[in-house]
Amino acid sequence: MWEASRAGSAHAAPPMKRWLLRPLTLGIVCASLILTVALTWVVRVANQHTNHRLLDQQVQQAAAALSAALPATQSHLLDAAQVAIATKADPQVFQRFMAPQLAADKTIASVSLWQLNSGTPRLLATAGQPPLLVSLGRAEQFFSTVRPSKDLLVAGILPGTPRRVGYAVMPDGETAGLAVYAEQLLPPSTRVGRIPASSPFADLDFAFYLGDKPVESQLVEATTPTPIKGHTASATVPFGNTSLLLVATTNKPLAGGLSQALWWIVLAVGCALSLASGFTLEYVGRRRVAAEALAAENERLYVQQKDIAATLQHALLPELPRLGSGVEVAARYLAGSDGLDVGGDWYDVIRTDDDRCLFFVGDVSGRGLKAATTMASLRFAIRAYVVQGDPIDVVLLKIGDLLDIERDNHFATVLAGEIDFQSRRATFASAGHFMPLLVSSAGAELLAGEVAPPIGVGSANRPPTSTVQLPPDATMLAFTDGVVERKGELIDIGLDRLCSVASADDRSQPLEKALDLVLTTISPDGVDDDAVLLGLRWQN
């Protein structure tokens, strides 16, 4: 059995395939990395979207602020035109009226009064520098388009150093053909410095164009090189008869630094989590494989040890002799519930002559190899003393020398019996052991008898013997404590249980079967401790 289980174990652990990473781990790490990238992309797009929306809002606000600032220019020119009309276009009055305006706003380079209803436009008066429009030769063409209107009429950007923007106004309802024309200096460079940080538009890079298209020649001013690259938002503001185009981009994350960095954070955390979970999964997986291998190995060792224990135990128990017609003898040994240790329980039946036999049932305290070897040495010693003709009480006294509780930490209980199976006279001696149970048609009872201390305790006296005449239908059962003992139960309850179970035997089946039935009835789930049940039965 033991060889067989060893041979079988060679197949128990098939060689494991070694992967650098297990496919499951690889799959999960890949899936979670893909998920991380997807999530990062979503966060990025959402952030971009938010930035674009905020940029649109800021540009709209900037445009609104700009359009609120424009009417001032317009009203100065309209005032100048009204003054000119009221004073019949007196040049000196016009110049006097305009002088403080020019002083207050250094960007206004030139303001002039024109008479337009006499074919060619006629310059009536000039305040500040001469109009650039005239020197460029574009006056006639521009003024031919000027009509009475509430709005400024824009001449466009005039090349020069610096460049100027020209516009005119002819008050609504004007019949004398008077128009006021002004030229305003643009910044020397189209690029202006940064907007102060306190401005609501400090986060914007923007460019203004005259008209509704971002044409370089019509660039009024910009805070950044033009054309503006990247994502831009634009808004137009009415300016006279044309418009101003505001094109802007952000130079800062409008949704905030955290929002801008969020996708990096998501990417980094996601990757870290993916790798960490992959590592954990791999670690746990490998540990599990190792644990399973260990469990399988333990299971194998357990089975092997159980096999060894059972094999050894049965090797230590004797074959029973035949006792002749009319007398059956049988014995059962049950290993304790775990079955891992060999036990110290034993039985022996020795036929000494034609109608006489001796039997022994014993129990070495404790368990394991020590108890089993002690049991074996006691059993063989008993056989030796029996062969030399010692009676049972002498045998029990002599084996007391083989065991010393101080030295061996074990003691043994032994019941010895001498039975004349023809006359049915039985003599018993017990060293710490239960007396046998007698079952007959009269019922079941534990035989009375004085019990001497166990073997190994150090008793120097022969144990007392008691003799009984057994009835013709007797069954005698000798047993060890495994048959009657239950944890936490008074021993008498177990003895009563054995009595009632044994008395239920109807003698219809062989003694062996009857013993099996007694054991399975008493302990359907097996015994805690190992147990021996030995029976002798007379067939009337």
């Binding site: 129990d363 305290s365 404790g366 368990r367 509780i405 101080e406 930490n409 074990h410 003691f411 209980t413 017990s430 060293a431 710490g432 239960f434 004085e450 019990v451 001497a452 201390p453 166990p454 305790v457 150090g458 404590d481 944890k487 936490g488 139960e489 008074l490 021993i491 008498d492 401790d529």
Partner: protein
């Protein structure tokens, strides 16, 4: 697994008492006795005139525990088991050890 391995047997020795007073308790069997083995060895190194062992909290005792009691009795000579419950008393009787292990009058 941990709950299976908790110590189920205990021993308490009252130092300097005369007679030496020892309390044993729990489930005394082959599995639990090794957990109090060091204390038992310590006890066997003492040399009092008399020993009283209080057994009232012993729930279970197997043959290993009986062996331990016999060794204590052999070592000290005068050992009395006190407050012994019926279960333990019957084990002592069944084993024919009534003369070896004297059971005190305070027992059930």
């Amino acid at each position: 697994m941990a709950e299976l391995e908790e110590p189920r047997a205990w021993i308490r020795v009252t130092p300097n008492a005369e007679p030496l007073f020892v309390e044993l308790g729990g489930q005394l069997d082959i599995a639990s006795l090794p957990t109090i083995e060091a204390d038992l060895d310590g006890l066997l190194r003492r040399d009092p005139a008399r020993v009283v062992i209080d057994m009232h909290d012993v729930h279970f005792m197997d043959s290993s525990a009986v062996a331990m009691l016999i060794r204590l009795a052999n070592h000290f000579g005068d050992v009395t088991l006190e407050r012994v419950n019926p279960m333990v008393r019957r084990i002592v009787e069944v084993l024919g050890l009534s003369d070896h292990l004297s059971i005190g009058r305070g027992s059930a």
